[in-house]
Structures are given as C-alpha cells and as structure tokens.
Symmetry: D2
Subunit: 410 residues, 4 copies
C-alpha cells in the first residue's frame, strides 16, 4: 500500500492548482456577473462569455480532456490519476470543469462515444465535443416513472424501415437548454421482449430533429443552473432518426449506462469533495473573522468541532473514492460495484454535512447569493438523487454483503 | 393536565381548515402562476393579485388578525389558542398567513405597535397594517456584524434637535421590496454609554424618507421570495425622522425585541410544523403512487421508517411548542425563556428532517419547482438562522441549566 | 389545553420527592453494598435487606401501589397522574419502584390479575403481590424465535383432563431468580387452529411446580441485575397445572398482552426519563467540578450544547409520554396505539442520548461502577429491545399513517 | 497510490487467518468457560489456562511479537504491514492478541522499553515481556483529575538520594490485577518548575515494591475484564525505587507518552475494526436465520440498510487508519498528528455504530452474555474515553485546521 500520488499526478495537480489561482478564481466574479446579466435579459441559459478565454488558456496548457483515459484524445490518465484533478475542478465548479472540457454530462457522453461510436458518429459528434465546440445532453430519466429502477423506463425506440422512431418524455437532461447543445443520447426500450436488462438501447438524437421539443428547464431549489445549461424537460414525439444513429449494441443500453457510471461517479464525487474543501476554507475564514459574545466564532468549541469533523469526513470520503478509482483501474467497474455504490452515498452526504456547517457559521449570509455556499449545497443535495437515490445504492451493497449468507438460488 | 383544545379553538381550527380547502388550496396554482409572470416581467416583488380576493373572503369570515391577543382589534385569542391556527396557515405558507393578515413580519410589527405605539403612531401605521392596506418591515440584522449577538448592532440613532438621525446598513428586512411596504421599524444604538442591553432603541422610518435606499433583495437558496416581498438590503444614510417616531422607551430596543420574539416564535414554529405536515402528506401520497423494483415505495421498510419517524418528530415538536405557548400565556415570555429557545431549535430542525425525507421519496422531482418541497425546505433552513442560529439558543438553555450548579457571582 | 398537573398530583409528587430525599437516596450506598456482598457470597439474587424498611416506610406514608388505577387497592390515580410518580421513582431505579411496590414486572402482572383473575386467583396471588410479600415474573419471550412477532411464540398450553400441560422454554423472565418470586404468568399457544391473534392464552404457573426449571439468568452488558432478581431462563417441561390456573379468557393471551402494555409503557418510559434526569444532574455536577485545559468542562461549548440538548430532548419525550398517558385515560389503549408505539421508541432513545453524554463528561469514570451511569445506560439500552425492538413499533406507526393513502383491502 | 497490500503482508494475513480458524476460534468457548469458572471461584483475574497452549502454537508459527517494528525481536514489520494483523487479532480480542504476544497494554510498554530502556532495564523487564513470561501495566490516568489534559497529572516522582520516591493514586492500570503482572510504568511530575510539557517523567515500579497497593479493579459497564487482568486502581504511597528505574530522559514523560500513542492507536483502531467485522458477520448470520412477520430479517429494508452502512463505515474507517499507519511509517508520529487524532475518534465510533445495529438485529440476545456483542460494545465504548475523550482529539484537529487562518502568535 502506498498513499502517495504518482509524480506525474502530483505535477498535474500543481499545474491545475496554478491554473485555478491565476485564471479561474479571478474570473469567478465576472462569470457570475455575466450569468446574472443574461438572466436579467431573459437569456439565462447563455454561457458566460468569460469562459471562452479560459478554455483557450486551459487548452494551451494541455489541461484539456484530462478525464479521457485515452492517450490520443485525452491525457491517458488512469481514473486514479484523474481523480484529484476532478476534485480541484470542483473548487470552482461553475467554471473549472468546463474550462478544461471536463464537465458533466459531456464527459460521460464523450466516454460513451469514445467507447461505442462508429467512425461516422465519432466524426460528427465526438470530435466537436472533444474540441469543446458543441455540447451534449443525456436523456434517460423520465418524469412519469421512478427512474431509479432503470427497468421502469418507458420511452420507446422502434424500428421503422431505415429509421428508428424515438418516442417519450425525458427530464433532467442537464445542459439541454444551452444554445451550444446539439445532441442528446436518449435511452429507451427497443426490445421489450428481451430479458429485463437487455430491453433498452441508446440512440443519438440531434436536438434540431423534427419532433424534439425542449419544453422548459426544471429548477434545483431556486436555481435555474443557467450558466451550465439548465435541466431540460424534453418531449421526443415520434422523432425519426436514421438507423445509423443507434449508439453501441442494440439492447445494450442498460449495460452502457452502467459502464458510463463508473468513472463518472468518481468525477462527481471528487468534484463534490472539492466543493466541500472550498466550503471548509470559507468556514474557517469566516470563523476567525466574525466575533460574537466577545470572541471570534473560531473560539467557540462547537464551531471547532465542526471544523475537525469536516476534516475527518472529507478525508474519509476522499480515501474511499480514491480506492474506488484504483479498483476501477485494476479490476474494472464490475469488480468495484460495491465501492462505486458506496461513494455515491458517502461523498455527497459528507460534503453536504460540511456545507451545512459552513452555512451555519456564515449566518443568514450563508443561505444567500452573497456566498457560494447555498448554491453548492443545492447542487450536492441533488447528487443524492441523481443516478438513483442513496437508498438504491445501499440496497445494492446490502445484497452483495448478504450473498455469502443466503442459500444459493436454484 | 389536559391535552384537548378548547371548544372555541377547535371550532376556529375547523373554520380555518374549511377556508383552506375551499379558498386557499384551489388558489395556489394561480398564485404561483402570477408570481412567475411577475418575475418574468421583471417585477418579482409584486404581490400576486389573487391574494386580494382571498383577503376579502377571510376578513368577511372573521379570519382576520387572529394572531393579535386583543379582543378589540384581533380575536382575543390566547397564544395557545392561536397556535394551531398558525400551524394550519403554514400548510399554504405563501398564501394563507397573508390572506388572514397573519403574516410575518407584519404580525410582529403590529404587536410592537400595539404594545408601544403612541396614539398618533397607531393611527398612522397600526391601523392601516391591521386593515391589510400597507405592509411593514423590521430592520435589525446587519451585514457587517454577527447580529446573533444583538449587542454587536452598529446602526446609530442620534438625537439632533427635534429629530433623530438614523444611520446604518441593514439586511434581511423581509417584505421591504414589495410596493405596499411603507414603514420600517429600525433598531439602532441611541445611548452607547448605557448598560450593554439598554443602548438600543427602535424607531419608525418611512421607506420614502430621504436617505433610505433599498439596495437589493438577498436570495434564499436561489429563491427571491418575491411573492412575499423579498429580503431587503437597506441603506439608512443619515435619515432624519421627527423625534415622535421613536417607538417605545428610549434604550428599550433590546427588551422590545425580546418581547416581540416570544409569540412570534410560536407562530414561526407552528407554521413550520404546518409545512412539514403537508410535506408528510405529499410523502405518503408519492410513496403509494410510485413503484420501484416491483413494489410501491410505501412497501419499502426504509420509507416506512421515515414516515413513522416523521409522525413522531412532528408530534413531539408540536407538543413542545404548544407547551411554550401555554407558558407564555401563563407565566410570560421571561418565564418561558428556555422553552422559547428550545422550540426555535426543535421546530425547524424536525420540520427539515421531514422535508428532507419527503424530497428523497420524490426523487429528482423533490428538488425541482414542480413540487413545493424544495422551496419549503429553503424557507425552513433559513429559520435555523433567523433570530439567531441554533447554537445561540442552545447556549442560552445551557446557561440556564447550569445556573444551579455554579457558584453565585459576587 | 392545560399543561399544569392537578393539585392532587402535585402534592403527591412533592411527597414522593421528599421520600426520595429522606429515605431512598440515603439508602443507595447501603443497597449497593449489600448487593455487592451477596454477589461476593454467591447469592447475587437476594434482595438487599435495606429494602424491607423502605417498604414499611413507603407503605406507612401511603406511597404504595400507586400504579394501580383502582381506588380500593391502589390510589385510584389516572395513568396521567401516576406518570410523574413513575418518573420520580426512576431516579433511583434499583430502590424506589420496589420500595413503593411499583416495580416491573410485578406492576404489569398485578394489573393483569386485577383485570382478569378469578376471586381464588386474586386471593392466592394478587393479594400477596399487593402486599409486597411475594414477587412474580412474566414468561413470554422465547430464545428460539423472534418474539417481537408474538405470533412466533412456540410454547404450548395443552388441555389434558382437569389440567393444562405447559411446555416450552422462556427467557427474560425478569425477577425469576429472586427467592421471593413464586409465580409466573406464562404465555403459550392453546388453540393453534384459531385465528392468528386468538391462539395464545396466559396461565399461572407456580415456580415450584414439577417440571419448572430455572436454568440460569442472562446478563445485560455484564450486569446480573441481581438486586432485582435477574432475568430467568426457564424451562417448562410438560408442567401440569389445574385448569383453574388459566388467566382470563382462553385464546385471549395476545389481547391481554396488548392491554398490559399500555400503562406499562408509560411506567417504563417515565422511569427512563427519571433516570435520564438524574444523569443530567450528574453531568452538570461533573461539568462544573472538573477542569481541563484551564477551565471547567462546563465552560466548553460542546459540553454546554450537550446539556441544552439533553434538556430539550427530555422535555419533548416527557410531553409525548404525558400526552400518551392522557390518551390512555381518555380514549383507551387502542385509541392511543400510535402514541404508545412512539414513546416506546422515543423515551429510551432520548434517555440513552443523555446517558451517553453524561458518561462522556465523566471520562473513564463514566463507564465504571463508581457512578451509576453505565448501569443505567445498560438498562435503557435493553428497553430498546424489550417488548419488541424500535423497528417493530415504527412499522406499526407507519402502517397507521399510510392507511388513508392506501386502497381499502377488499 | 496503490491500495494493494505487499505480498509479505498478504501472506502473513493469510497465516494469521488460518491460525484463527484452526486454533483461536475453536478455543473461544473453552476460554470463556475457564474465565467463568475462575470468576465463580473468586479468582476472576486468573488468565484462562487454554491460552498457554495457544501462545506456544503462535510462537512456533512465528506469529509472535509481530507488533514490534524491529527485525531482531519482532518481525520487522512496518506499522502499515502490522495493521491488518491487528485487525485480524481483534476478531477474537480476548484471545488472539495475547496468544501472539501483541496485546495492550504490554505492546505499548514493550515499545517504550525497546526505545528507551537501559540494557539492565531491558534484561530485567523487556526480555521476559517479549517472551510472554510476565505482564506489565501503564499507570498514567488518575481518579482525581481530568487526565485527558495530561498536564493535570498530580502524582510525583521526587529525587531522594539514590532513589526516587513515587507518590500518587492511579487507576485504569489495565492488566494490573493478573498474577503475572510484575511491573508498572508510572507517569508523574518530577520537575514541577520545568515548562508545562517537560515536567513529567516515567519510572519503572515493580508491583511488589513496598508502598504499592492494588486496591481494586474498576468495572467496564458490568464487566470485570478479568480474563485480561482487569483495570487496577493502584495506590503508590511514597514508593522508593532506585534511580536506575527512571525510564528515558527525566522530564521526557509527556513526549514519551505521545510517542507511545502513535502505533498504539493504529493497533487499537484496527482491533476495533476487527471486532466490528465479526459483529457484522454475526448480524448477517442472524438476519438470514431469524424470521419475523413472515420473512427473514434480512429481507427487511431497514436491516439491509444497516448492513450496507456497516460495510461503508468500516471500509472508510479502515482506509483512514491504514493511511495513518502509512504516515507514521513515512513522516513519523508528529507528521501524522491530525490523522492519529482522527482515527481515535472514527474507529471506535463507527465500530460502535455497527455493534449497535448488530445488537438490535439479535434482539434481547444481543445485550446478553450469550453473544459476544454486548461485551465488544462495552470495550469499544471505553475506547471513546481511553487516551482522552473524542472531544479532546477533535479539539486538536481543529486547532491544526485553523492555524493557517489565525494571525501568528507574537
């Protein structure tokens, strides 16, 4: 066992840290100002302009597509090596991930395309995504069913001559509202008579295809999440796409969704920890700066205990996430199933704990827009539901734990 | 001991329940639609029109100013009798309290005026408030100091001939953004050389007085809280008001703020429980309606445990709040100090617990604007900070508990 | 609503408080010393001698059988009136309940006999129990099945001519080890073909009947609970008792067990709160007396928060228990089912919370026998399992809550 | 980063696992039986005889003194390599550690002697300890002061000619009651005028020295912990020992205590996790074996959630402990201070969480002596106080976290 990062990873972390210090943090104020101005102008889903320059800078430094474990298009980093980069990007979650072309859901979509796309599909969609020229969304969850159970999914993908007809209503298609978003990866039932987990397929649906209506964006608490493209509610009304648009094997949707989740979970979790680390810094800063009842908040035992607990909880969540990354690298997503489920529960939960305390230390300012805490909290709270609520993941872990004790099913 | 409500209280509860069923719930959709339209039109702080009719209806039914423990202007209810009315109003917290002219912060302000205003002050401000014609705000908290320690307050009220000059910057002046808001009760230091708790006074400052600038509204987890007038950041820049505007005794600000808090806490806490009761209903409805992994969520043991715990927690919080109300009625705010502090911690905390589980049962829908849960959560989370964070109240309770064990101070 | 105790109840509480101060607390040291001496002598289940005098004193003061809601044999107190007496007795739980002939499981057994016994059964068993001359045990739980589901019970009560033959193995028959214990109320299946909840009966089995073997006593976190008679593991091996020994209606065992539980839960819960109140006092005393890092523990914010939380939690648990008592008095055990389940979860849980913190404030002394905290903790922890684990009670509450939302069963 | 154990460590773990399976688990029943018999015979502190053979077996297999990071006397394992061995030994905590001569407090004492003893001291005390022929105790904590603050320690070590006079009263000298215990390492104030942390020294006091009285053993919950020598309360009444008995540098007591704690914490924490892992196994076994309300407990969602949470919590606590071990190996005890404090809080806390749930799944059997759960719980609860309560460690962590935010002390 060795808890030291590789030299390469340490160097890269240092480089990203410098990029954050020199370019990202200084741009935060401008970014939020531009987002507010777009909102006031009735165009909340425009991407703040300041981002363009940051993308150029990041790309010029080689801080581009680092998430992709492919030496040709990405940096060839292992999941374990990329994890601390994801954490650092989470410290400025509105800007840094996208500046480095490492933002969700595009990362997951690019991974899917990288693994499963045909050369034509790659050229048309993956290349501009890797170049950061267009954006994409992932349309799986549906408003009408408990989508935590993927077999509930009701949208259909029906063969009709040279085409597939995609029909259904999706929501939480994050990023779909932004003008740059061109393509949706849609999950639906193509083979209803197959075995339970072989019924779904994934298909590429251009957002300008006839029959696609982006109805509206759902809010998250009171946030429209405009600067990263909102969360689209999309109606796919008998949308016809050529057969060539099928992504990966027919009936392979469920399996591909699982594959997509592994590294994506690491990214989400590490970014969550990055947010929480930043919140902890804000908590410490505020605690030493504010005085009540004759002494700084940082002298209050209760506040001290929160700070200590925060350190402990983040360290534990990070270690578990890093180990999970290592498992994905060494034994694969399947072999890491229990841990992938575990971090999905742990990282947002612990990050939320830290955020809650940071808010409390800030007083009413903490719930306001004057500090980033409330918005970070809202995003993290959503992660307890995205990709299935905590309870579904705990259920999977328990099933695995109980296996040795149960009689084999005949 | 007798846990039964009085006949009068039961009858009134029944009447309010009917008012909610017949008038308030059916108006919710319209209310939110109007609020959204105003927001889209750039006037988020307008009061949705539908409210006007509801006020007429409530008043015609005698459901008006029930909060005021005065038989002439209110209904002459004890705090204990009013408490369950407050809870019911919390079930539709955007509409019902204001429809019945029982909404914060006007209730607290009306109480202060009722107790301390001169006849002229009453005529000018209290009467139109009781009539629901104007609205008011309370300007105590300041952005630059930890206002949980009221002795930190820095705004000044300085005598100058026939006037007082009010100077300072306040925030979280809830309701200040609405057009109908005319008057602020401002707390400031008038007598800096007095004993620590006799330095502040309260003064009436019309919002159209020269020197008053309402800078902006702070958000709460992304919500502008527009339909009830936002939360104003107000700059009072050497505002001159006649000496007659002083409210109550000079140097009595701290004491008056304390007096204001007692019944107001009951209202806040009961409304919180009303919100949580509604959330629990939504949780049960959703749990029976959604199916995952082959059975309704309501058959999942974990969901069942949440529902049971919710019932227990709300019942306990309600009993403590009711007892506190009874104590205020029988031994006064001072005698109920420990309990008033306790419910401030308990009611929002337990209500938040229920809301969190209700959200979880709703999946991603729970954090969106499609259900009222996320917004209720945000409001309740804010209550853990309003009037001082939990920790300040726990501190007070502990001091009281430890008194018998400590040597008397000489 | 009225949160004031009746004058009669207040007077009685005052009398019990004086009895504790003058007689019980001063006897605690002697009691524990005698118990230790008996243990060392290999007779751990002897009742410490000092108790005899306390019983005489209590009886002479009329503090005797107060639990029994019958004016002739008890004091004719309502459940609500007795509840605070039970709490006070919990403050010295080894001594006070038994000194006042109000100790479990005899109270529950006396209630059963009072409600269901024939005149002959009353004369033989109830009268000496009410006189405090003999003791009894209740044999329901079985080591071989999950007894939280009462329908799992496997012991049998089979008719055979003029006799019933009782057969089965029971444990947690509290009090069975003491020499004064003469009689067990045994629950078993008499009518296996009846409906699920009409299969069990209760029967009186003298402990000296042939076939009864008290095998051993189970410990509770290392404690033998010797001074109140341990927890017997009893083998009933084809024990023949006359038909007249059947208690109450045949097939009525389940119903009688439920009826027994209502008031008994109030007693248990209130005694738990009494223990916790005493622990809170010890916590405060220790906190002001011990100094670490330059100041008394009572100056540490974290300790203060524990003390405040303890006060809040105990107050809430007490109110819920009192309301439940009131419900039992006014609408009966059935009408109070949800609340009876709720306090079973709440009272031990909150009391344990307080105990845990009290232990922590005492440092290593807290887990030792030098303070009563560890033993109180162990007893309270057991209450989370006695009469069914928390989870079973939460399950019942949830079922009740969900009823209005579920389709009626056809 | 690499989460794989070294081959050597894996091989050793396998060997220990086999030793447990073949020798230790099968001896558990006998061990507890012998302990019970000694207790009944009034000699509770005798070491059960079966242990002798296990020691011979372990030593013959080379499973002896593995804790000692010294290739000559121990196995030359790093702290990181030994950690999983400690965890495995915790699975049978009464037997395995001592069978392998790796039990506390002897391990810590042997480490101190190994680091600081003179050749004469080594020959007299370390060699027989390493041979498992004698046992030792560590006398630091005092009943009269809050020993969590080591500067409170009041015992004195006063120079008098060729001797030191040791005077004071100690408790929680674990192991002191056993007949084989010969030597105490006593901490006391030798230089009261030195700087705060340079006042204490350690000195070797043979338990048969005149003036040493072992007064009694304190219990832990209801356990005497007899089979591993109880917890002695020792009076050192002006005990004269030769100057040569001073251990390490005079005034170095505090520093030596700190040094002792680092690896010792790893051992304690890993053993705790070993206990919890065994409890989790018992929980799973019971959950599948017991049926209530028509299905096995393992089908109850709540029980499943406990099992999943247990797995997550133990995994997180283990990773943090392993990282801490690695830090001790690579940057030393000082550099690992925050983590050493963190695991002290985390490992017992999480292990207790698991134990609590395991008990709950076992029903009343869980609190009894029929399963090892209650006793494991009691031991783990004590760990939250041993070497300082959680709160002291959280305090240290917070101080470290806040350092960068505070102005430098001038």
């Amino acid at each position: 066992m060795d808890f030291r990062h590789s030299d390469r990873s340490l160097a890269l972390q240092e480089q990203v840290r410098t990029f954050l210090d020199e370019h990202v943090y200084p741009a935060e104020h401008t970014f939020e100002g531009q987002a507010a101005a777009y909102r006031a102008a009735g165009t909340p889903f425009r991407t703040p302009e300041v981002l363009a320059g940051l993308k150029v800078e990041a790309r010029s430094q080689g801080l581009w597509n680092l998430f992709l474990p492919d030496a040709e298009h990405g940096a060839g980093l292992s999941v374990l090596e990329y994890a601390p980069i994801a954490e650092l990007s989470g410290r400025s979650a509105h800007i840094a991930p996208e500046a480095m072309n490492c933002n969700a859901p595009d990362t997951g979509n690019m991974e899917l395309l990288h693994m499963f796309a045909t050369p034509e599909q790659r050229e048309q969609w993956l290349d501009p995504l890797l170049a950061g020229e267009i954006r994409s969304c992932f349309s799986m969850t549906e408003p009408d069913v408990a989508s935590s159970d993927a077999t509930n999914i009701a949208a259909t993908i029906i063969e009709d001559g040279d085409h597939y007809v995609v029909h259904g209503r999706k929501w939480w298609s994050t990023g779909a509202m932004r003008p740059e978003c061109r393509i949706a990866i849609v999950m639906g039932v193509s083979d209803p008579d197959n075995a339970r987990h072989a019924r779904q397929s994934m298909i590429l649906v251009p957002l300008d295809a006839p029959g696609v209506t982006i109805e509206r964006s759902t809010t998250v608490f009171g946030y429209d999440d405009g600067s990263h493209g909102g969360h689209g509610v999309i109606d796919f009304d008998h949308v016809r796409v050529p057969k060539e648009n099928l992504l990966g094997p027919r009936g392979g949707g469920f399996m591909m969704a699982q594959a997509r989740l592994g590294p994506g979970r690491i990214h989400h979790c590490m970014r969550s920890l990055g947010m929480a680390e930043r919140a902890l810094e804000l908590m410490c800063e505020r605690a030493v700066a504010r005085t009540a009842f004759g002494r700084p908040l940082s002298d209050q035992g209760v506040v001290r205990e929160w700070i200590a607990e925060s350190r402990i909880r983040l360290e534990q969540a990070r270690l578990l996430t890093m180990k999970t990354a290592w498992l994905i690298d060494t034994v694969g997503v399947r072999g890491a199933a229990t841990e992938i489920a575990a971090i999905k529960v742990v990282a947002p939960r612990e990050a939320l704990w830290v955020l809650d305390k940071a808010i409390q230390v800030h007083g009413a300012a903490g719930v306001s827009g004057d500090f980033p805490l409330a918005e970070m909290w809202a995003g993290l709270r959503t992660l307890r539901l995205a990709d299935g609520p905590d309870e579904v993941h705990l259920r999977s872990i328990a099933r695995e734990q109980l296996k040795p004790y149960l009689p084999p099913r005949s």
